[in-house]
Assembly symmetry: C2
Homo-oligomer: 282 residues x 2
């Protein structure tokens, strides 16, 4: 496994492989790899001859009051995990080689970027779209792997790929959960053991919603209200949003008469966690 820090070097390392026609799978990450990332990586290893993983904590996608500085960066462990999983190339660039002096170009996916998580995190999805566009141009993969856990991010990137004709196919891989249902996230590391139990309220709220729908409830407003009631019973848990939206534009739906995404973000103490589920059994 090669570890490469500079975009130009990665480009060169990949150019030879490209000419030999090898399929390249790409998994962009911010490191602090967990079984969710590894599920993406394993899928990429199954599908492609060459697998590239990027590890880059992209400062641009963190708000001024967010957790950029404390975000976990266990690089050695991450590299060992990549190697064990069969990754061929790890790209871990420095900030200064990703954002040259005078950097001024941004990719914006209008509409979806200011909803849900985008409402609480202005500029976040612009920064995500921009860095993924850069990474796609550096790596030039045939397949791009994204996690369903970050549903809005996956939808925005898919839209960007379509709208800007990036020559890559996007695969969205299911969320990996602990046995108790908590969705894996690098930010779970911030939680105390008491908070980890409280955090189960996310998956519980999703299950409540699905159960209501299975039992015939179709009124999105009522379902959201029931989810919020459930969450508000927990102390030190604060709702950012609970939403039921369509899968094309992430716009709120009133009646559940089409496949939709149930998504929520809550603060468990100081840690912001998200989760979501797709409902398509209507």
């Amino acid at each position: 496994m090669k570890v490469i820090a500079h975009p130009d070097k990665l480009n060169k390392a990949l150019k030879g492989l490209k000419h030999r026609g090898a399929n390249i799978g790409f998994v962009p990450t911010m490191g602090a790899l967990h079984l969710g990332h590894l599920s993406l990586i394993k899928q990429a290893v199954r599908d492609n001859k060459i697998v590239v993983v990027s590890i880059f904590v992209n400062p641009a996608q963190f708000g001024p009051k967010e957790d950029l500085h404390k975000y976990p960066r266990p690089l050695k462990r991450d590299l060992a995990l990549c190697k064990a999983a069969g990754v061929d190339l790890v790209f871990c660039p420095q900030q200064k080689s990703m954002y040259l002096p005078g950097f001024a170009t941004y990719v914006e996916v209008n509409g979806m970027s200011n909803l849900l998580c985008g409402a609480a995190r202005p500029g976040h999805f612009r920064a995500v779209a921009t860095v993924v566009a850069k990474l796609l141009n550096i790596v030039r993969p045939d397949l791009l792997y994204l996690g369903q856990k970050d549903a809005q991010q996956a939808m925005i990137i898919k839209k960007m790929v379509r709208d800007l004709n990036f020559p890559v196919k996007v695969k969205v891989v299911p969320t990996v959960r602990q046995i108790d249902g908590l969705a894996l996230s690098s930010r779970n590391a911030y939680l105390t053991s008491a908070e980890k139990i409280k955090a189960l309220v996310l998956v519980k709220a999703l299950l409540l919603a699905k159960s209501l729908i299975v039992h015939g409830q179709r009124d999105a407003g009522r379902i959201i209200r029931r989810m919020k009631e459930l969450i508000n019973k927990k102390q030190q848990v604060k709702i950012d949003y609970v939403a039921i939206v369509d899968l094309a534009e992430l716009k709120p739906v009133k009646k559940i008469n089409q496949p939709c995404l149930i998504a929520l973000a809550v603060y468990i103490g100081k840690t912001r966690l998200i989760d979501n589920g797709i409902v398509n059994y209507v």
Copy 2:
């Protein structure tokens, strides 16, 4: 020479060539080809094994009151010129296959895009950057050819390529002029013969500026004033802007003590024409 209308088909046609390692040169145009375009195409033919020319009058880069509908579209003639010049593939997509329903993604090069021509044409350079990003992803060339005539456009695209790591080298090809000095432009077709004579004021103003500098004038404000005086002597000629700017960010310079761009836009009757010259003999 192949003529291809759909992005997917072009992508497929090029994929085979790519694997065989052929260098691809790309000249994006809006058609109505003149000797300026042909100079780009000839340079591309000299440099590359495969040359792709796109012909697409991109509606998004025209303002609501601009000349989208009357913009010349002599497709047959353009194709004959491409064939004679040795072009391998002409890509002439329809609007609906370039902008799918729900299109919402834009590439914005901040800073430079709202100056000079961008001030009079809001959104123009965002649309240019976006369509060029799309074309680069569809064609995936090794070399991209742009004309110095559209100096601001060339600089914005170069910045975008750098900032977003597009794996392409940009070559800017000198402006081609008539024997009398008028820079070639598809929009010259709008001019009456009387206006064509009036239009020489652009190159005359540039020559005046260069002559002042050669004779020791370093005060950009004075040079601009002299250029404006010259232009204002002509009837039915209206100045949009006359500017002397740096080559990195297109910011106005006060003293000419670095290489800089002298750029101007004027209306000759109803036709907006631009021209520019680089001064590097300081």
